[in-house]
């Protein structure tokens, strides 16, 4: 079977699983409740609910196991594969049961099916099945018929929808095709991981499989929960999910963007054109999209930024309508929503007692229930809260961007924001969203889990004390400390004395006002001439459009006054919502430009400029669409015939298409640097397919330890070589599995470009093998495998393997060889293991 076919299958499985969980199942349960919303809104709601559900379940389960382990109740053996497999089965069953129960209970609850009816039906069918009146086959046949009916109904509905929106469907498929062309092909070019951070994240998900949540310390773990959920529930290998999920999340990131634009743009087809330009435009610096080729939490969190903003804007709009309908503030609205109850209370003449009872918790719940059932804006606030919590659960940077956009929206809707009728719910929603995301981390911290090193690193970046943008590397420095120290490591503060985690946090909090004071003073003392348009232009050019014509830069810079001006025009035309939308886009663009150029402007960088450009370019279609849509509305919006405005947007799509199909204009698939060779992934896939769990070991450099943790064993290449290094200290090296695989790179991977050296990219050679072993801090040390160290280690390993296969040709054979990589397999007698420690001619 071809690897490409395998990758296609794996992608289909992962995409299918994720789509079912975040689109299909929420749709089945919540469709009736959100059917009045637009398709775009519905999809965003489903995504928020589906992802939140998965995260919540895994967090609850993980924290439960964490609590058990703190109580010294063992929930897993010491990394034994059989135990992990057993717990995988247990957890899979738990998750399936919880999923089915949640689906049924929520469905029944939303359909207001009486509890007694559920009990009666369950009892009836249980008795029938036990008695044999209804056989198991018949029961499942009935369920099958029901499912078939539902599928048929959904199919007809979908076909109708497509027929009704045929141009949208064609354009949507065009965008998917474009995404496949630009991002999808990456999966087939580089089989392995495309960012070094992915190994750390894989490790954390593997630890989740061993019931060890927050194994690397407290960190936004939402993304890991999703991967773990997919791995456990659908029996998908973790490393496979990591390999192909990048494209799945890229599809969803772009889907979010499209849904957001479709919701706001009155020029119906404008979003497709803008999106096509963003996806296919060659003028973007490739670092603005290179991380989309990797499965990383930050990019995963991008899915929820725009839905959060959308729900916030939606909240302002709908709340306004609600209040307009009633003409009274919130409390009165709630009262109006449940007039019967009020009437009843009045009829009873309970007067004062009712007022007293109204303050009791149960009455508050009653009041809230009646309020939420009738208040659409409250639902928007709930979805806003879910989306905010999802961004925060995935990555802090996503929350920063979402927060900036939300601030822009709030500023634009300034007058509404300050009104209590809006503010109360808004604060409650925002607070709830943040709390939802922080709660698992707080619980874990309270249970004694230390903070993960990159949190402190992130804070330092935000404080400007660390410069991470020195190298334009895709995927660089996600969590350098996590990478360097491996699993469960934390970055010690060199200046701080050794303390407990709690003391450290306390210490940091005490020092915070002082630091802020110092920073503010620095800022005030800086010359203000640095805050110039030239600096912003330079930053945008450097980070986003290094090779684009000047006109593109100007367009972006002029978009700010243009959007604000448009907003003003709409304001004057008494189209307040449109005006606020355009103004918020303009303000947000200002924020983004300032953030991008923060370093040059002497402002405190909230996030790394290298990361900021990803968000800036991602938001460009929003600015472009809003600006163009505004113009089109101003010109064609006055026509009574509603089809004119959408029709006017079609030429734009055609123009973009014509532009992109010109030779050399379409963005090429970015061939990202691989963390493993393709051959290594082919070997690993074959091993996983053909070997029994726990019967094999891979001797390799670091990576495979994470990729195949639950299936086989790993022996560190560095340790392997060190143990036979000097004749005086030579130890016998035995590996207790029937099969041992040796992964050797003949052309060692350039693992870290920052450590370039003279022989980079060259083949293993005898002269390099003669060099002394690189100094290693410890086993599983990432630094041993970068730069020239990797070449030395691979050269030594290569000649060891050659020697050993020469003396033991029957036991050690070539498993797979290409120009860049060779894999040997040793089959040995486990009753008497082979001693791999030999003098291969290059021992020191």
């Amino acid at each position: 079977m071809s690897m490409k076919l395998l990758i296609m299958r794996q992608f289909a499985e992962v995409f299918g699983a994720y789509a079912v969980l975040v689109l299909l199942l929420p749709c089945l349960v919540f469709y009736r409740n959100v059917r009045k919303e637009s398709l775009e809104t519905r999809l965003m709601v489903y995504m928020a609910i589906g992802n939140c559900y998965m995260m919540a379940v895994v967090f609850i389960m993980g924290l439960f196991y964490l609590a058990l382990s703190k109580l010294h109740i063992p929930v897993l053996g010491t990394g034994v594969i059989e135990n992990t497999a057993r717990w995988d089965v247990i957890n899979r069953r738990i998750l399936w049961i919880v999923l089915i129960a949640s689906l049924l209970l929520t469905k029944f609850r939303l359909k207001r099916v009486k509890r007694s009816y559920i009990v009666q039906v369950t009892r009836e069918y249980t008795i029938k099945i036990v008695k044999g009146t209804v056989g198991i086959k018949s029961f499942f046949l009935m369920v099958g018929f029901w499912a078939k009916k539902q599928v048929w109904f959904a199919g007809i509905h979908t076909v109708k929808l497509i027929r009704k929106n045929i141009i949208d469907a064609v354009l949507f498929l065009g965008l998917v095709f474009l995404l496949l062309l630009v991002y999808g092909r990456g999966m087939f070019q580089v089989y392995g991981y495309t960012a070094s951070d992915m190994l750390v994240h894989t490790n954390w998900v593997n630890d989740l499989s061993q019931n060890h949540i927050f194994s690397g310390g407290v960190y936004p773990f939402g993304f890991h929960c999703i991967v773990y959920y997919l791995h456990t529930v659908f029996h998908l290998d973790t490393f496979v999910v990591f390999r192909v999920f990048s494209f799945v999340q890229t599809l969803f990131i772009h889907l979010s963007l499209l849904l957001f634009l479709k919701n706001f743009c009155k020029s119906r087809y404008l979003p497709y054109g803008a999106m096509a330009l963003y996806i296919g435009g060659k003028f973007f610096y490739f670092y603005t999209y290179s991380r989309f080729y990797s499965t990383l939490p930050q990019e995963f969190g991008m899915i929820f930024i725009l839905p959060a903003v959308y729900f916030l804007i939606g909240y302002f709009r709908i709340r306004k309508q609600e209040l307009a309908r009633v003409g009274k503030p919130e409390e009165e609205l709630a009262r109006v929503s449940s007039p019967e109850k009020e009437k009843k209370e009045g009829d009873r003449g309970e007067g004062k007692e009712t007022e007293q009872a109204g303050k009791s918790p149960s009455d508050f719940v009653q009041k809230w229930r009646s309020s939420y059932r009738n208040s659409q804006s409250l639902w928007y606030m709930v979805w806003f809260a879910l989306s905010v919590s999802l961004t925060l659960s995935a990555h802090f940077y996503d929350t920063i961007i979402a927060a900036l956009f939300c601030i822009a929206v709030v500023v634009s809707y300034g007058l509404r924001f300050v009104r209590l009728a809006y503010l109360k719910r808004l604060l409650l929603g925002g607070g709830l969203g943040i709390l939802l995301a922080l709660l698992p981390m707080l619980i874990a911290f309270a249970l004694g889990t230390p903070l993960q090193g990159s949190l402190a690193w992130g804070m330092k970046v935000a404080g400007g004390s660390i410069e991470t943008g020195s190298t334009d590397l895709p995927g660089s420095k996600e969590a350098p400390s996590g990478k360097k120290k491996g699993a469960g490591a934390k970055t010690p503060d060199a200046t701080a004395p050794p303390k407990t985690e709690l003391e450290k946090v306390e210490h940091a909090l005490l020092a915070l006002p002082q630091k802020i004071g110092a920073k503010t003073a620095d800022l005030l003392n800086k010359p203000m001439q640095s805050l110039t348009v030239q600096n912003i232009e330079f930053a945008v050019q450097t980070y986003v459009f290094p090779s684009a014509p000047k006109v593109v830069l100007n367009l972006i810079l002029y978009a700010v006054p243009f959007l604000l001006l448009e907003g003003l025009v709409f304001f004057l035309l008494k189209k307040r919502d449109e005006a606020a939308l355009l103004a918020s886009a303009g303000i947000f663009l200002i924020f983004m430009l300032l953030l991008q150029a923060a370093k040059l402007l002497g402002l405190p960088p909230l996030l790394d400029a290298n990361r900021c450009r990803i968000y800036l370019s991602y938001m460009l279609p929003v600015f472009a669409c809003f600006a163009l849509d505004g113009i089109l509305i101003l010109i064609f919006g006055r026509f009574k015939r509603k089809w004119i405005l959408p029709l006017c947007s079609l030429p734009f799509v055609l123009l973009v298409t014509l532009f992109l199909v010109r030779p050399g204009e379409l963005r090429e698939t970015y061939t990202s640097s691989a963390e493993e060779t393709n051959t290594a992934i082919v070997c690993l896939s074959n091993i996983l397919k053909q070997e029994t769990k726990g019967t094999w070991t891979i001797v390799s450099a670091f990576d495979e330890a994470r990729l195949a943790q639950d299936y086989g064993y790993h022996y560190e290449l560095m340790t392997f070589l060190q143990e036979m290094e000097s004749p005086s200290q030579r130890k016998s090296i035995t590996i207790p599995t029937p099969k041992v695989y040796f992964f050797i790179e003949k052309i060692p991977l350039a693992y870290d470009y920052s450590l370039a050296y003279a022989g980079a990219g060259s083949k293993v050679s005898q002269s390099v093998a003669q060099k002394p072993m690189p100094n290693s801090v410890a086993a599983l040390d990432f630094t041993s495998y970068i730069g020239e160290s990797r070449l030395i280690l691979m050269s030594k390993m290569y000649y060891w393997a050659k020697k050993f296969s020469a003396i033991r040709p029957n036991e050690m054979q070539v498993y797979l060889e290409t120009d860049e990589f060779i894999c040997y397999v040793v089959e040995q007698n486990t009753d008497r293991l082979l001693d791999f420690s030999i003098d291969y001619g290059y021992n020191d």
Binding site: M1, S2, M3, L6, N678, T679, V682, S685, N686, K689, Q690, M724, R730, S732, I733, T734, F804, A806, I807, R808, P809, N810, E811, Q813, Y815, L816, T818, V825, E827, N829, D831, R832, L833, L834, D835, F836, S837, I838, D839
Partner: protein, 607 residues
Amino acid sequence: MMLTYRIFITLTSILLVIFFLFVAANIMQTVWNDYQTNPYAGSLVPISEDNQTLIAQTDSYLPMGIAHYVAYVGNTEDQSVGAMIEEWCVYKKCALLKSSSVSNSLWHKPNPPDMVLLDSNYLTLPEDISIIQDWANQGIGIVFLNLPKESVLADSKELQDLLGISSIKAANQSLTGVEIYEGFLLGGHQIYDSTDPNNKDRSDLDLNVPWYLLSGGTKAYMVGLLSDKTVKNEELPALVWDHPVANTRVFAVNGDYMNDVTGFGFLDGMMTEMQSYSIYPVVNAQSLVFANCPVLADENDTYMQATYGQSARTMFRDVIWPSMIALSQKSAMKITCLLTPKLDYTDKTVPVGADLSSYISLFNKYQAGTGLSGMRDSGTSLKQKIDQDSLFLKQYMPEYDYFAMYLEDPKEWSGVADENLLKSIRTIADNYSGESKLLSYLTENVTLQQGIDTGFTHSFKDDLRLRSVESSLAYSHILVDMKPLVFPASAEDRWEKLSPALAANIVTYWKPFSQFGQTDLSESDNRIREFLALNYSQYRNQNTIHLGITGKFAGEAYFILRTHEEEIASITGATYLPIEEDAYLMQATEENVTITLEPKQVLYYVE
């Protein structure tokens, strides 16, 4: 209901048909059982000693043109190691260059031997080490058939390095057993644990050996077991191992396993380990022979009546014979009965002629082989016995020819070879003594087959010998002497004790070799003649092995093919049966055989 004539006739007819169906099979079997003549008379292969492939064995330069040969340094005159090597070379169709010392080993430089077999007693240390090292550097496989004394090894670091010994842990270590790992000998993984109470009477291996720790890259095939269970498997005293030197291996045997035919399988195992595959001719014959069975006269009647409550004849007919048939069916082994009219000719009892024809009829029915036994009491000469037996046998079975005979001492054969009764004898069965070859020609037309097991007992040594011989020759010969049942040598010689042991041993220890041919003595004689007359050549070209049979080819020849992680993809000119992992039994039906191998593990996913 009235019984009408019609119903009566119908019922009677049905009963008659049923009765006929029941008895017809037996009647037909009896009618068509032509037991008056030996059924193997027509299938005897016309191969004699003249057709045997002659293998060059010399103590000076071998003639040019011999591509494959082994060199042996030691004394070929002795009856242990040297004799074993010579015999192994005959069976492997492999020329042998003998010398009494390392420095006297002479061969043409461009054509070195495939393997040098060293008897450590004939080494001159330390001078010989550099020569041996030089041979190894030339790619010649080295086998130390035994090791120098521990003290000699302790003094010679060079020799330790050559053998892959990293240190000497103990000069004399007491073992609790021996473990053979899978793949070296056929039959799979085996542990000989002397501490197991069930093995109390079976333990006869030498369990005191020097304890050597091996260096990296070595591979052990057989190790000693210790009472101290904390010792790591990798540090257990190695008994057979190899050490890679240059591009070849140096094998070492720590013990006396190479002194007899037990060494055959070891040498084949070493040859297999040194190459990517090995292919060698085998006999492919396994016989279960009951000597002095059945008894045709009521001999030693007093003892038989006192012990079993019945005469010897009745005992053999009603108890032993059914057990033999049951055992034959259970183990799927063909039996051969080497009968004797009488054992004690001083006794006045006379053999019963009716029993003879009855038994021979049964042998024919159950496809058991028939032969004669030369066993008798001490006062009667073999010639006297044959004379008396002739009268009896010719009287009751005048047309019957006997092809096999059991003799306690094969040398007696020359005295009776011209006897009329024995004119048809083609093979002599004999107990294993280690003094003569396992398979050979006794005279020009008579072969000698030595039994390698007695059946009633099966010690560790017996089992190791069985595995080794089966691995090397696909041959086994269980020679069960039934005389002690009638004339017991000890109180243990009672059927109720011997019978379960016999059944358990045969069913258990021969099970791994059930793929090998099951023959009676006449068939195995045929296969031995074909095997000894056979010669072959073979070479490998990429994945294809070409095998050519160059000796006397009688239409079928058997080979064992052993590989490493490869399996047969296709074969022409032969058929094959898998014996175990990486081992195949091939039956060549044509003189040229082509075997195509393929790796066992094929990648499922490809780029």
